[in-house]
Each structure stands twice: as structure tokens, then as C-alpha cells.
Symmetry: C2
Subunit: 122 residues, 2 copies
């Protein structure tokens, strides 16, 4: 489907998902929390995301307001699916087993997982 979003581009996407629409400057400010990027870098990333059709811009006076064209949920879904397929042969439980063995599961996670399972069984 929509082209691959690179690591750096994703940081910009996150900023837009957090709030939109935003000007390039807004995005740069928001991104500055994570990365030490110049404004130019952020603009380049915005323009690459534009050509990948994952964001759109609407003109507002002499600047542009950018907004995401793909929902974060959709992106996250496709990335998670890709990982599960690549590394776990499409099976989800080994992934969780893996994370569990790394102690990446918080008590809260465990409780929530139980909820999820309960919901699925009915």
C-alpha cells in the first residue's frame, strides 16, 4: 500500500498524529523534544512524506498546514503484522512469550491481557 515510512520520518509522523494540522515550524518544535534536528531537516522529511502520500498539506496564507493521511492505528497495525509475520511466522503467542521472558510485561499489562482474552472468548 502506501510506501514505507522510515525511522526519521516516523518521528515526524508521531508529531502530526499527536496534533494536526500543524505548520512545519510547529512540527519542528514538537520534534525537537526527541531529536536535535534543524528546521530544514524536518521540512525535508515533511516533503518526503508528502511524496509518499502519507501526509497532505493545505495552504494557509503563505505557509502550509500539514496533516496525516494515514491513521496511526492503521500504520501500527500493519507494522505489528509485519513483525509478527517476519519473526514469528504469523503467530502472536510466541511474541508475547518472548516479551514475557524478557520481563517486559508489567502487572498492568497482564491484567489488560486477561481482559482482552476474556473479551475474545465470548
Amino acid at each position: 500500500m502506501s510506501e514505507k515510512i522510515s525511522e526519521a520520518e516516523l518521528v515526524v509522523m508521531e508529531a502530526l498524529w499527536e496534533q494536526s494540522p500543524q505548520t512545519a515550524n510547529d512540527v519542528a518544535d514538537r520534534v525537537a523534544a526527541d531529536r536535535e534536528w534543524s528546521l530544514q531537516t524536518v521540512k525535508t522529511l515533511l516533503s518526503r512524506l508528502m511524496s509518499k502520500d502519507v501526509i497532505a498539506a493545505e495552504q494557509d496564507g503563505r505557509r502550509f498546514l500539514y496533516r496525516p493521511m494515514v491513521a496511526r492505528d492503521d500504520y501500527v497495525a500493519s507494522e505489528s503484522g509485519r513483525l509478527v509475520n517476519r519473526l514469528f511466522g504469523g503467530r502472536v503467542s510466541p511474541l508475547v512469550a518472548q516479551l514475557a521472558s524478557q520481563d517486559q510485561l508489567t502487572a498492568e499489562d497482564i491484567a489488560e491481557l486477561e481482559e482482552i482474552l476474556k473479551g475474545l472468548k465470548s
Copy 2:
């Protein structure tokens, strides 16, 4: 830690994880199931994996026997962790919720997840 393994390189790693040690030819044959790569391509990938120190080679006559230096489990663990951190703020349950909402959970997965949770609670 060890450097990033690219998509194509991962295919080669999978072949080595499946069985090792193997010669370049063995790997190429095994890889041929997935990808239409020339033997040269596989050799290049092997040599890049060597310089990334994720595989090692031992000389056997005039050829080399390659073997992985990182366990598949370790790699998988770090990749899963990365994904969970990048996309879910380190929380595991939203990942599973996400996959569940895509119907990626098989009945078997659900049963196994219950087992995992049971194990964790004790």
C-alpha cells in the same frame, strides 16, 4: 549493540539459524526457497554480516563454514522490544489488543496466551 541487520540480510540469517554451520552454497540453496537471488548476492550478504560481527566463518579447505554469532532468540527479543517501544510506548497489551482487533489471533494463540498468563501470575 550488534549492528542493524537489514531485511535481505535477515533472510540469510534465517537460513543459518535453521542450520549451521553451512557453506555459502548451502546458504544460497536454502535461501533460494524464498528469494531468487544469485549466489553472488548471497555471498555479499554473508560478507556484510561478517563485518557486522553477527556471523563468523571457519575455514574448511578452500571454503568457509558460516555460523551465526547471535542467537535467533536474542535478535527476536531485541526487535520485538524495539517495536513495542517505538509504537506502543513500551506497553505490550496495546500490541496484543491491536493484533486482536485485526483478527490475527488464532484460537491456538488465545489458548497459549492464557497459559502464559497463568504462568506469570504464580
